[in-house]
Symmetry: C2
């Protein structure tokens, strides 16, 4: 299995990039992982919210190959503890998922189109974090999940 | 009301410090806030987990003034959405809490002593994040909460 984190918009903080990269350097020991940042929609600031979300949805959907499994990261999604999340990932591998794509939306979240086509939602928290910081939280959680699955000393219960 | 974030151990990443500071610069418009990092317990690496947690507990308790209200940040605590968390903070102000202290434990969490004396727990997530990153998540959530209470355009529902 390989995992992609698909995010709308570039990461605008060099600190966040640096923190993500230090985890991403260690992830290949566990899993093939890629962070893919989609370009911002042109003229985004002047678009009505709905139009912006639809344009972002088209961009997201254009990235998916047939057979890819898309999971939306959304605070209204299913919550897991870190151990439960590691088991969730393990189940995906057991079910022969080849490419698991987690997606973080733009500042306004996702359009209904995305929710209808890809109803599976996971929440990192009930709280709303910036769509920029969530990238770091997710990558840390992914690293933690695989360290749990492989019995490495990173996670303390 | 003023709010303190009490954390065990220095923040070891300059990127995290920089991200926290950029939010802390903007917090005084909303609330008097201080991040207070307690020194690491001496010889921590060689102490049994229980002894380390007890030493950290003594350090935490020594920081509290009479009348301070301590809330433990712990993944087993009560969960809020960002809007609910803003209402929680608002209720503290309504109840004339003068000094609200949120506390992040060390790598192994808190000793039972702390839980017995200060049973109020809030969870930023059911997931476990590093006790370093949680500092940033908390400060962002605090900034978000007050921007919600004051009707500022930061949080998108």
């Amino acid at each position: 299995m390989r995992i992609t984190l698909l995010a709308v918009g570039k990461t605008d903080s060099k600190e966040l990039v640096s923190l993500m990269e230090s985890l991403e350097k260690r992830l290949p020991a566990f899993i093939r992982f890629e962070r893919k940042e989609l370009p911002d929609v042109k003229n985004a600031k002047n678009l009505p919210e709905m139009e912006l979300k639809n344009a972002e949805a088209d961009l997201i959907l254009s990235q998916l190959g047939s057979g890819d499994s898309l999971i939306i990261l959304d605070e209204k999604g299913e919550e897991f503890t870190s151990v439960e999340f590691s088991k969730f990932l393990d189940r995906q591998m057991t079910h022969s998922v080849k490419h698991l794509v987690f997606c973080i939306g733009g500042a306004f979240g996702f359009s209904d189109k995305i929710y209808h086509l890809h109803p599976q939602k996971v929440a990192l928290s009930k709280m709303t974090f910036t769509h920029q910081m969530v990238r770091l939280f997710f990558i840390e959680q992914l690293y933690r999940a695989f360290s749990i699955l492989q019995g490495k000393p990173y996670h303390n219960e």
